[in-house]
């Protein structure tokens, strides 16, 4: 009985679910029919067509988007290839330059080449006078420029208040940095060689090169001093130190590695400059090493120039020029590399 009672209920349920299925099918059919009738009718058909068109458009857009995306990707790949090619060309050119000088110069270089006097009208022998001359000029220029440069940087960062004075000094520094090197040479000629009567000498050349390198040292020192945290100064001042004591004992020790880096980069620049010493210090040939700062000298960069433009034995002089260029290049790049390594180590330690 209970089962019997249950059974019809079950059947009833099954039937009702079936009915529901039929009903939903019927609804779908009705909807389809309605759509057909609607299509037959005019006004609602327009919206229907529009909807269909939209669906088609969406489908097309998806496919088109893929195409467009591919196009954009391809374009990106092409442009990236172009950009990378430019960098390869740039580095390639520079590598070619260094490579050629190294290959043509290495054969000439020997212990004798860097420790002996030139012989036989510059066609044989070594380049010792040029190496020493460059050494003297660099020392002289740095002796002049380092105190002026670091002092300027201390004033600009620690003492000066923003105003017309600082602006004037900044104009001086910025524009001095942009003056062409040959103009420095003319200045040195007119002032040190002629007006002060130092003649063509180590002194005139070193003073001229000192002016050339001054902006480099000021900027590097300023940057290094500004990187010192303000709290160092505050702590020092709070202990009752004066401004100079603060600079001397709190700021400068911390800024020193940065300042040193700037000075080393300055050395690299001074060693390679030719135009400023052409009329103030350099000579193609000296029979002996200079005895005082009032004598003219040979210098590596000028020696290269003179070897390929003067003299009567180019076939003997050109190889020596490449050897000299390799010595100069090794000197300058070695000094710069030292500065860069020093800087990165210093930045890491901060």
């Amino acid at each position: 009985m209970i089962r019997g009672a249950q059974d019809p209920a079950m059947t009833e349920g099954a039937i009702s679910s079936k009915a529901a299925g039929v009903a939903s099918a019927a609804v779908a059919a009705a909807a389809a029919a309605a759509a057909k009738t609607a299509e037959a009718a005019d006004a609602p058909g327009a919206t229907q067509a529009m909807k269909a068109a939209e669906a088609a458009k969406a489908l097309a857009a998806e496919a088109g988007g893929r195409v467009l995306r591919q196009k954009r990707q391809r374009r990106q790949a092409a442009m990236f290839a172009l950009m990378i090619a430019a960098l390869v060309i740039a580095l390639g050119f520079l590598a070619l330059l260094v490579g050629f000088v190294a290959v043509r110069g290495i054969g000439v270089i020997s212990w004798e080449f860097i420790t002996q006097m030139p012989r036989n009208a510059m066609t044989e022998g070594g380049i010792l006078p040029a190496i020493l001359g460059t050494f003297y000029l660099v020392i002289g220029a740095m002796v002049m420029a380092t105190p002026l440069g670091i002092g300027s940087a201390i004033y600009l960062t620690e003492y000066a208040r923003q105003g017309p004075v600082v602006r004037a000094i900044r104009i001086g520094v910025n524009n001095l940095a942009g003056v062409p090197s040959v103009v420095f040479g003319l200045f040195g000629l007119a002032v040190f060689v002629k007006m002060f009567g130092f003649r063509v000498s180590i002194l005139s050349g070193a003073l001229t090169l000192g002016i050339v390198v001054l902006p480099t040292i000021i900027r590097a020192s300023e940057e290094a001093i500004l990187a010192v945290p303000v709290s160092y100064r505050e702590a020092s001042l709070a202990l009752g130190a004066t401004r100079w004591q603060t600079v001397r004992y709190a700021v400068l020790p911390s800024a020193m590695p940065g300042i040193l880096t700037g000075c080393i980069l300055g050395v690299g620049r001074v060693a390679g400059e030719t135009a400023p010493i052409m009329f103030t210090a350099a000579t193609f040939f000296t029979a002996r090493l200079p005895g005082s700062i009032f004598e003219e000298v040979q210098a590596l960069p000028y020696h290269i120039y003179a070897l390929v433009t003067e003299g009567t034995h180019p076939e003997a002089q050109v190889p020596i020029a490449f050897g000299t260029a390799l010595v100069l290049l090794a000197l300058v790049l070695g000094v710069d590399l030292a500065a860069i390594v020093l800087r990165s180590r210093y930045e890491k330690s901060r």
């Binding site: 740039a90 090197s181 120039y305 860069i340």
Partner: protein
């Protein structure tokens, strides 16, 4: 009390030292004008600038500097045609395309190469580039405006790359993120967002590269050929202003017209580079404001 005197003394010394740069700059201006002005009185400004004949050692001499200025102009334009596209593209590659590790190596290498002395570029141009150009273009001499342009262009590259790279790297990261969020590809982000945002910095790079090319002496002295005629093509030898000063100052008798004329050329050179540097400076400041505001 003694402490205060000491402090004031140090302050005074530092002020004096800080003025040294300005003193040197003013000194350069004064010297150039003092030594250069006499030639304007002698030949007249118009002839000096527009005269087509540079015959400083003839009798009577002629001091028209148009050939020299044209030489400088041609060589500088040629150098920039190489250095700007290659340099800016290299900067984009270094700052945006290369992975960070490679950037850390390439940037210092480029900066290192900025230190190669100009006389070494000159030697390379004279001994290796010039014979090559002579054979390729079948010329009587390889020392031409084109050769000088190529060497100067290579020389200006490290300057352009380094400054343009700094500018691109200084664009705030939010610009890039916003562009990616809008669905832009990396290249679209670079070309339409980052480069425009860094444009004033890139212009600075180009201007400073140009200033360097105009003022460069040793390379053009050794490579440009030295003919003081108004050039009609890139394949002719030219004598840019810097080369004329460097080559002739040794022979010019001090206090003579030739000596004054060379100083007067230096005035032109000084004014042009000063203008370039000042314009570059204003672009730098604009860029800094823009990045700070972004």
């Amino acid at each position: 009390m003694r402490r205060r005197i000491r402090e004031n003394l140090i302050h005074a010394v530092l002020v004096a030292v800080a003025f040294s740069s300005l003193v040197f700059l003013v000194g350069i201006v004064l010297v150039l004008f003092r030594e250069g002005m006499p030639i304007f009185q002698k030949t007249g400004l118009a002839h000096f600038i527009f005269g087509r004949d540079w015959y400083p050692t003839y009798d009577p001499p002629s001091f028209g500097t148009l050939p020299l200025m044209a030489g400088s102009f041609l060589v500088t334009v040629g150098a920039m045609a190489i250095a700007i596209p290659v340099g800016v593209a290299s900067a984009i590659t270094i700052s945006q395309v290369l992975p960070g590790r490679a950037r850390g190596i390439v940037k210092p290498v480029v900066e290192l190469l900025a230190g190669v002395p100009s006389v070494v570029y000159g030697l390379f141009g004279m001994q290796i580039m010039a014979p090559l150009m002579m054979n390729v273009f079948n010329l009587p001499t390889g020392l031409t405006a084109l050769t000088a342009s190529i060497i100067l262009g290579i020389m200006a590259l490290p300057t352009v790359v380094s400054i343009a790279e700094d500018a691109l790297s200084a664009v705030p990261g939010t610009y890039r993120e916003a562009s990616y969020a809008l669905g832009a590809t990396r290249w679209e982000t670079i070309s339409r967002v980052l480069v425009p945002a860094a444009s004033s910095g890139i212009v600075t790079a180009a201007l400073l590269g140009m200033a360097r090319a105009i003022g460069e002496t040793m390379t053009v002295l050794m490579v440009a050929g030295g003919a003081a005629v108004v050039p009609t093509s890139f394949l002719q030898p030219v004598r840019p202003m810097t080369a004329a000063i460097a080559a002739e100052m040794g022979e010019a008798p001090v206090g003579g017209s030739h000596y004054h004329a060379l100083f007067a050329i230096a005035i032109v050179l000084f004014v042009v580079t000063l203008a370039f540097n000042m314009v570059a400076d204003s672009f730098t400041r604009r860029f800094q404001r823009k990045v700070a505001g972004g």
